[in-house]
């Protein structure tokens, strides 16, 4: 790996980490989710600064090209993340359903008590 690409990768990763940290600061990103992304950033940064680790791991797993290892682990990580998100979405859709039902039931109860104030909001 040339020094130039090493520096480029390091800069990009650092920018990404800063961006994520900033989103956490502004509370647009939950720290729970930011943590896994920050971990990825730090791992990539370490591998970038010490390419020897890569070479060692590649030999350890018996993979021929370092880039294949990156693809493999990247793919596994992405799969896991997508799966975790679908689990989350399932749970949230159940919560949303309950909330929606409660609102309808509450509204009906209110309407029954004040039938004259049937100010409809669609």
């Amino acid at each position: 790996m040339s020094l130039r690409i090493q520096i480029l990768i390091a800069v990009l990763v650092l920018l990404a980490i800063l961006g994520i940290a900033n989103m956490v600061r502004k509370e647009t990103l939950d720290i729970k989710f930011a943590l896994s992304w920050l971990t990825v950033g730090v791992v990539v940064l370490i591998l970038d600064i010490f390419p020897g680790i890569m070479t060692y791991l590649v030999h350890l797993f018996g993979i021929e090209l370092p880039v294949n290892m990156m693809f493999f682990f990247g793919f596994c990580f992405t799969l896991y993340l997508v799966f975790a998100l679908t689990v989350k979405v399932s749970r949230q859709s159940e919560q949303l359903k309950r909330l929606t039902q409660e609102i309808a039931l509450l509204e009906q109860g209110v309407q029954k008590e004040n039938p004259d104030q049937s100010a409809d909001s669609k």
């Binding site: 859709s93 929606t100 039902q101 309808a104 039931l105 509204e107 009906q108 409809d120």
Partner: protein, 229 residues
């Protein structure tokens, strides 16, 4: 004995008024509640104008979530019997008393209005009948019970099942799955022959493109419900 008709309605502006009038006229012992599933047409306005009892969902939940809202309403308001009834004019309210009689007399937990016992009235298209017969077979395989019309949306349940469904009801294409769920809990289900009408208003929720997905999803749901405890 308090009895409730649950009418799920999504874009039923043309049929909902007739449906409610049918219930008021032919099943006067029943209360009713329309569950408006965030319709994009005038369904809500039609209901409000007529002073119908409406549960207005602020977001679209689909048929399962709508019907379940009705069951929660029935549970909290102390209803002994609840019956699902389509808002598009497919079902006839004149059978509701007979269904309630059967539920009480035979000490059942659920009575399903079936098109396929006497084979009278609207029978659905040929290809759909094949699908329905397949579900009858599959349900018989996993529960040992023959349900001739497992996709019928006209089903009456007692207090016990109202509670079960208020807690837990499938989200989409719920009919066959929800029957299997209570059969597996050892509840008693039977059918009563009814006539249905071809739908007059609105469109079926199951388009041809979706039917393959429907078959696979419902099959899987039935099998899952069968192994669930």
């Amino acid at each position: 004995m308090k009895k409730l008709v649950i009418i799920p309605a999504y874009n039923e502006q043309g049929g909902i008024e007739k449906t409610v009038r049918d219930i008021l006229e032919h099943a006067p012992d029943f209360d009713y509640v329309v569950v408006n599933d965030c319709s994009t047409d005038e369904t809500l306005d039609v209901c409000r104008r007529n002073g119908f009892c409406v549960l207005n969902l602020p977001a679209n939940l689909g048929i399962g979530g709508s019907v379940q809202t009705g069951y929660v309403y029935a549970w909290r308001n102390g209803y002994d019997i609840a019956v699902q009834f389509d808002g598009d004019g497919q079902h006839n309210a004149r059978y509701l008393d007979a269904m309630a009689d059967k539920l009480i007399r035979d000490q059942l937990d659920m009575v399903i209005g079936s098109r396929y016992i006497k084979k009278e009235g609207f029978q659905s298209s040929g290809i759909r009948r094949v699908g329905i017969r397949y579900f009858t077979g599959l349900i018989r395989l996993v529960t040992g019970k023959k349900i001739t019309d497992p996709t019928s949306g006209m089903r009456m349940v007692g207090r016990d099942i109202i509670g079960i469904y208020a807690r837990n009801y499938p989200k989409d294409y719920p009919e066959p799955e929800s029957v299997v769920a209570i059969l597996k809990k050892g509840r008693r289900v039977d059918e009563l022959p009814v006539q249905m009408n071809a739908r007059q208003e609105g469109i079926s929720s199951i388009s041809p493109q979706k039917s393959v997905y429907y078959m696979i999803k419902v099959s899987l749901a039935i099998l899952l419900a069968a192994v669930r405890r």
